[in-house]
């Protein structure tokens, strides 16, 4: 994945001039989308593939799809170049080419996964020996711990760390990231351990290691313990007890509250949103050692983001949820599902405006983020009004790039703590003033 991404990275600089030609537009946007979503590629591919089979991504979807916050050196430059262009082009290509874009995207993205999938399904029909092969183990454990999801969770935690108004401490950052990653691996493994028969019945999740018998449940639990215990210990002892406690609480919330609740009540979505909101809070507390308003704001932004993301996604998976016995809003309370998604899109605008009030960012942040927040709110409104497959898909795909962009803008508008000391200058409130960018 990383390889392909790098290739695309070099190709990106040529894109801006080609953007104007709509005939190339879809293709380029494809690349842009892929660039933005390289990790999500797997996810999107499966989603696109699965749409025809009515599959579900849920259990991952909520706590999951945090867009990766790209490592900030070169990527930022490239993203800056693209950013001014893509919001403009989104509305341009709205109705007609959207579908083509989707198909092209799914076509292009499924190419590389079609071949392995065909091979896979042939293999699938054979009987396999249930013996653990050591060379398969890394791959199996990666899938068990949902390594891509874990990477995204770690990115949001890093975003929380980066936004904290303290001098950057590399060891602390690395320890916090590692600890969060291990905790996430543990939580995901336990989640899969709990859900074997349900996963077997859903198209997206039916290829998981425990479902396929590639690993025994005992080993899965041991792996989870051997990730979770050191992870939390690392956070508690190597970072600070507050972060460790949050990590342990999040594991508990995800495995013992969210996972069983998925089958009991629609409130699981809210719990899942909290699960997703905690990693950035953990990043912040790792840096500062305390739960400030800033941490809660960052958590709040991620909490609100979950709803348009997940509700839009779950709209297309109602059949699988219904058959599998999952209690989701999209099945039981469809009106509520859409209302909540819209409500939280609007909440994102509000939260972005609160950020400068809390001294986390300058006032440029709500201004710059307004277009993307308005756009996702517009899509949220369309979803609310139309309640059909296409509006839900639009909203979902928007959420995939909306979050990384928002976090990136937030980071570039971060108020340097040095500046905060000369409050006198700041009160002048000049919008165009250069903000000291703190690179990690």
């Amino acid at each position: 994945g990383l390889f392909v991404w790098h290739l695309k990275n070099t190709g990106i600089r040529q894109i801006p001039c080609q953007f104007v030609h709509l005939c190339h537009g879809a293709n380029d946007r494809l690349i842009t989308f892929q660039y933005f979503n390289f990790l999500k590629r797997m996810y999107v591919t499966q989603y696109n593939k699965d749409l025809s089979q009515r599959a579900k991504p849920k259990s991952d979807a909520v706590a999951s799809p945090f867009r990766e916050l790209q490592q900030l050196d070169q990527e930022k430059k490239v993203i800056h170049k693209i950013r001014p262009i893509s919001p403009v082009h989104q509305p341009l290509s709205e109705a007609p080419s959207r579908n083509e874009l989707r198909e092209m995207k799914s076509a292009a993205e499924t190419e590389d996964s079609v071949a392995p999938v065909r091979a896979e399904s042939k293999e699938d029909r054979q009987w396999k020996e249930m013996k653990l092969r050591l060379d398969d183990l890394p791959g199996i454990l990666a899938r068990l711990s949902k390594i891509k999801l874990t990477a995204l969770v770690v990115s949001t935690a890093s975003a929380g760390f980066a936004m904290a108004p303290v001098p950057f401490d590399l060891t602390c950052f690395l320890l916090a990231s590692l600890g969060t990653g291990l905790a996430s691996c543990a939580a995901n493994s336990i989640n899969q351990f709990f859900e074997v028969p349900f996963d077997s019945n859903m198209n997206r999740t039916k290829n998981r290691p425990l479902v396929r018998g590639q690993i025994s449940p005992l080993l899965a639990v041991c792996f989870a313990a051997s990730c979770g215990v050191p992870g939390i210990a690392l956070l508690t002892l190597g970072v600070n007890p507050l972060t460790g406690a949050l990590g342990a609480f999040n594991i508990f919330l995800y495995t013992c509250c969210y996972t069983p609740m998925k089958r009991m009540s629609i409130a699981n979505t809210w719990v899942g949103a909290v699960v997703g909101a905690i990693p950035p809070v953990m990043g912040w507390t790792a840096a500062t050692g305390s739960l400030d308003a800033g941490a809660l704001l960052l958590g709040g932004i991620l909490y609100s983001w979950q709803f348009p993301h997940f509700n839009a996604l779950s709209w297309g998976l109602r059949e699988d949820y219904s058959r599998g016995g999952y209690c989701m809003m999209s099945v039981t309370h469809p009106g509520l599902c859409r209302r909540v998604a819209l409500r939280h899109c609007l909440a994102l605008i509000g939260l972005s405006t609160v950020a400068p009030v809390l001294d986390i960012t300058t006032w440029t942040f709500p201004v710059i983020s307004l277009p993307i927040n308005l756009y996702i709110s517009y899509l949220g409104f369309r979803f609310y009004r139309d309640a059909d497959r296409s509006s839900s898909r639009k909203l979902f795909f928007c959420s995939l790039w909306h979050l990384p962009m928002l976090l990136l803008v937030m980071f570039t508008c971060k108020k340097s703590f040095l500046e905060k000391e000369d409050k006198g200058d700041l009160l002048g409130g000049n919008h165009g003033r250069a903000v000291e960018i703190r690179l990690p």
């Binding site: 020996e129 249930m130 077997s200 396929r212 018998g213 639990v221 089958r263 016995g325 059909d388």
Partner: protein, 145 residues
């Protein structure tokens, strides 16, 4: 699975239940603990298979009935001129999904409880068996050293 194999074998997903059947290997000197584990797993497999096969079949059947009744209400046939099966769109199916989920809620709750219990028991037994085997291996090593 070949006769000489010493492991369990897992097969392709079942057509009705989507679960993968496992053929368990019975070692010649199976300890009582190992036998308990194997029997627990066999029983769990049978329970799961029964539940999901029945559940999925019910789903398919009720879905067909729903589509049929809705089409009839609209005055359409099950198959149109080209012989293709007529389907309802997602919004119309949504009523069915909601209905089906609430109808089967109690059944799922019961199954969930049973599944968690079985899962924990089996995993715990696996732990015990693994521990017993490890101790046996250590004792054998000590003897042969």
């Amino acid at each position: 699975p070949p006769a000489h194999s010493c492991n369990d074998w897992i097969g392709p997903p079942d057509k009705h239940s989507n679960l993968r059947p496992v053929i368990f290997y019975v070692p010649p000197e199976e300890s009582p603990l190992e036998r308990r584990l194997r029997e627990a797993r066999q029983e769990a497999q049978a329970c799961d298979q029964r539940f999901w096969a029945r559940h999925n079949r019910a789903f398919r059947q009720e879905k067909e009935e729903f589509i049929y009744s809705r089409l009839k209400a609209k005055g359409l046939e099950m198959r149109d001129e080209t012989g293709q099966k007529a389907t309802l769109n997602a919004e119309e199916m949504a009523d069915f999904y909601k209905d089906f989920l609430s109808k089967n809620f109690r059944k799922h709750m019961q199954y969930n409880r049973d599944w968690y219990k079985r899962n924990f028991t089996i995993t715990f037994l696996m732990g015990q068996v693994a521990l017993a085997r490890a101790l046996k291996w250590l004792r054998w090593k000590k003897k042969n050293v």
